[in-house]
Point group: D2
Chain length 156, copies 4
């Protein structure tokens, strides 16, 4: 905002997040494979980086609400998992992660061919991690921001 910090001086820049578990990516990919609902929905894990994770969901008619758009709950499901995993990249190998709470603003109808939830960590703490997620629709080469989430995750 307002140009804000130069990236190099921003104490919240992603590059400053150092995972304590160097095997974080394989840990998260294995965990994602255990989320059976992701298979039901057809969602897949994309990028896994320190403090940042993205999940993609192709359009499918059986995920829709009354007007043919993807149901807000499905968009929330990939956003919540992306936030949880973004937080989880920075947690120790022997920990678990659970959602405490989240808020979602639905900005545009979820129309398009594919939906990508891009989550990043805003703040880490001993027990709580705060994350943000933007969800984009992809349709005919056009990308639109359709939803944004602000979420609190807890380490277990």
């Amino acid at each position: 905002m307002f140009g804000g910090f130069p990236a190099s001086a921003d104490p919240y820049a992603m590059s400053l997040f150092q995972p304590s578990d160097s095997e974080y990516e394989s840990r998260i990919r294995a965990n994602f494979a255990r989320q059976q609902v992701m298979q039901l929905m057809g969602a897949s894990l994309r990028r896994v980086e320190p403090g940042a994770v993205s999940i993609a969901l192709p359009y499918r008619a059986d995920l829709t609400q009354q007007d043919g758009y993807i149901h807000a709950g499905m968009i929330t499901t990939i956003a919540d998992s992306a936030c949880g995993y973004a937080a989880y990249t920075l947690m120790p190998a022997d920990s678990g992660v659970l959602s405490v709470e989240f808020k979602v603003n639905l900005l545009r109808p979820a129309a398009g061919e594919e939906f990508v939830a891009e989550a990043e960590v805003i703040k880490t703490g001993r027990t709580l991690t705060v994350t943000r997620c933007d969800v984009y629709s992809h349709a005919a080469g056009e990308i639109k921001l359709i939803a944004t989430m602000l979420a609190t995750m807890i380490r277990r």
Copy 2:
């Protein structure tokens, strides 16, 4: 809270909500049947009353997250639909309803045989309706509050 109002004097009591469309229940049941994702998940519409709607979701392994609990996004999906339909009971016959935003607190892991989202309208306005939803788990005859949502719906 604190005993609050006697029910008869409470201006927010449900009984004061008068649907402008006397056919609200059939309108909502027809609309619910068009939410294809509800069939995918196995969710069903329960009560439909002026300003209050409930939706039930039986446990299924393919709705779970990494620990075998129902994914927070699935709980959110039934809560969001219950809130939307609670608002929709009070809207005119020719209107539509969309979620503007919602916030969910996950209070306990979603373990149990069945999950019921019970939504009610807090405040109606010309365009916006504010709703609240509590989600309960049912397991071996025991009922627990597992999540609560506060949501804003818009008339279209």
Copy 3:
């Protein structure tokens, strides 16, 4: 909702909250006296019960926004403190309490002679407590719900 539980069977009934610190009320009244901003605003602590606290704020022109209503931030301030103290009634004597996050829906303009924030605990945990707060305006003998908060508090 829907009549819900009989009060005696409701596992979330306030009466089931047993403070571990029998001196909770004096602890909270002393803590409130240290919140200097409450004096600046003219807010006062009303009821202090296990899991439930209320705070009152009389109308004052210097608390208003551009239209002469009490600023949403002032309403939030008493709601946040009421939620924090409701949670704090159930915490041990040597603990502290901080707000993790909250969401507020502003339901009606904050017009009236006095505003009362009534908070109650929904769920307690080892570290986190989830609370809800309704804020009512009082004007010429009429009481209106003007805002509602859903908040997460942490024990320190």
Copy 4:
């Protein structure tokens, strides 16, 4: 996130927000002067740009909670006003603006010499505008993100 769009291609870049009222800045400065609570708190309006507004609040002991930090409600007050005015920059000259709802995460204790709320518009619509606000503390030359808000504003 993830580098995201090049700024020039990002359809959500601030530069794409074109105020319909060329006198937006003076309109907002006049409106801010009518928010009496800002004077009570000692808050001042900083930048006013299309879709982006910042408000500053110097530390004062009479704005504090029980531990000597600025009360979360005061931080929320400047964040809410910054969000409202960010939305208002893009609204017509004859309109008004009100908060529908907001959610705040408190990331660090509000310690420091000054607190700056930096709000920006995420999405504009006919009636609703969604905004985001980060609040930074300034202390001994060090800047920290202490809170973040996601808010919905309505045009009146």
